[in-house]
């Protein structure tokens, strides 16, 4: 079984990471990669880590004689292409925010969704929660990177109450390849920048999935890859630790890419993206205080928070073993 893949929007970091994973995926052939801006340029000019792995050049038009299309475009750009892809009978895995929310939430955060019928068909691409639906989906909307970390940290917990604050610490690669003042090295290095203390759109995804209001804040820190989401849940009473362990174990015991981390010893006692660089794992853990439960979710925003999760969804959609081409340990130290 060889899955023929086309990537629309391959010049960015997520496009590059998709290529890194798919070019060495045992069941995949990458047929075409598009970039209007860099049409005719070798892919390795923008993704030099892929030298010797591909001689592909960016194309203006995608080769649609394939099995699945990954769309890795800036937000709102997918609206122009996805309908046509689906009409061509192609499966679509979209990495933008365009089809993630339900119609109601989308309207609340943005505008009326321009393609409500498509939005209805789109499946939220979080395998640990939506595996069955993803199997039969024709369009999968991959979750936001911080939403993935926040949701996976919180989802197993029963008594969440109403007072939840999530703060995501995040690396610079999540802002993408486009140069900007905020990404300028002398300004970005060693910053601890509260760039979205309120109103970040990943909040909507988290609220949609865990079914209650949350406060969400994003802080950029001195890291290229990685997210640590810390969720502070007011519990009012001290919760029993073994009960919380049980809830996490029950939810994640068969999940290949979730690891439960709450250790009494060692340097890495709670989830930490430092040991996840380049891997598709999300490390989840917690700690209990007098009137608070702190839950953690750590991942590599480019892999489990992006291209790795998209590949995991592809594996599920095509009936492959879900870990195919994804079972890599993180680099340590790195």
């Amino acid at each position: 079984m060889t899955i023929e893949v086309t990537i629309i929007g391959g010049s960015g970091y997520i496009g590059g990471e998709l290529l890194r994973l798919l070019l060495i995926h045992p069941e995949v052939t990458v047929k075409s990669v598009t970039s209007r801006r860099l049409m005719g340029t070798s892919v390795t000019m923008v993704h030099p880590n892929l030298r010797k792995f591909t001689s592909l050049k960016f194309q203006g038009k995608p080769d649609l004689d394939c099995d699945v299309v990954f769309t890795a475009l800036p937000h709102k750009a997918s609206f122009k292409i996805v309908p046509e892809l689906l009409e061509n009978g192609l499966k679509v895995i979209d990495l933008s925010a365009d089809y993630r929310l339900d119609a109601e939430r989308y309207a609340a955060w943005y505008i009326e969704h321009p393609q409500p019928d498509l939005l209805e068909k789109a499946v939220y691409g979080l395998p640990e929660l939506n595996r069955e639906k993803i199997k039969n989906a024709t369009i999968v909307a991959c979750p936001g990177c911080m939403a993935t970390a926040g949701i996976l940290a919180l989802y197993p917990l029963n008594d969440l109450g109403e007072d939840i604050l999530i703060e995501a610490k995040i690396g610079s690669s999540a802002a993408g390849a486009k140069v900007s003042e905020s990404g300028h090295h002398p300004e970005r290095c060693n910053t601890v920048r509260a760039y979205a203390p309120v109103g970040h759109r990943h909040q909507a995804e988290i609220e949609m999935i865990i079914g209650r209001k949350v406060k969400f804040s994003a802080i950029a820190i001195d890291m290229v890859r990685g997210i640590l989401a810390t969720a502070y849940i007011k519990t009012g009473t001290k919760i029993d630790q073994k009960e919380v362990w049980k809830q996490y174990r029950e939810q994640y015991k068969n999940e290949p890419f979730i690891r439960l981390i709450k250790m009494k010893t060692g340097l890495y006692r709670y989830p930490d993206p430092k040991v996840l660089i380049g891997s598709n794992f999300c490390d989840v853990g917690f700690e209990i205080g007098k009137e608070i439960l702190v839950a953690f979710g750590a991942l590599d925003n480019m892999v489990k928070g992006g291209s790795g999760q998209a590949t995991q969804n592809m594996n599920i959609m095509f009936g492959l073993e879900e870990t195919t081409g994804l079972l890599y340990p993180g680099l340590h130290p790195a």
Binding site: Q241, K242, W245, K246, L260, K262, M263, K264, T265, G266, L267, R269
Partner: protein, 59 residues
């Protein structure tokens, strides 16, 4: 005689711990939460969190 692994529950995190031929006062570690445990009963297999001098870990 096939060594039967007895299992008991970690008092810290509830994980199941298997030990072949456990001894009273034997020290072991829970793989899931890394806590050091001491065997306090064989039948049933019971553990207690072993007292360790405080390890300096914080920043």
């Amino acid at each position: 005689m096939v060594e039967i692994a007895r299992t008991g529950e970690c008092p810290e995190c509830g994980a199941l711990i298997g030990l072949k031929d456990p001894l009273i006062r034997e020290i072991t570690t829970c793989e899931e939460c890394g806590v050091t445990l001491e065997v306090i009963s064989i039948e049933p297999l019971l553990f207690e969190i072993a007292e360790l001098e405080g390890e300096d870990w914080g920043e």
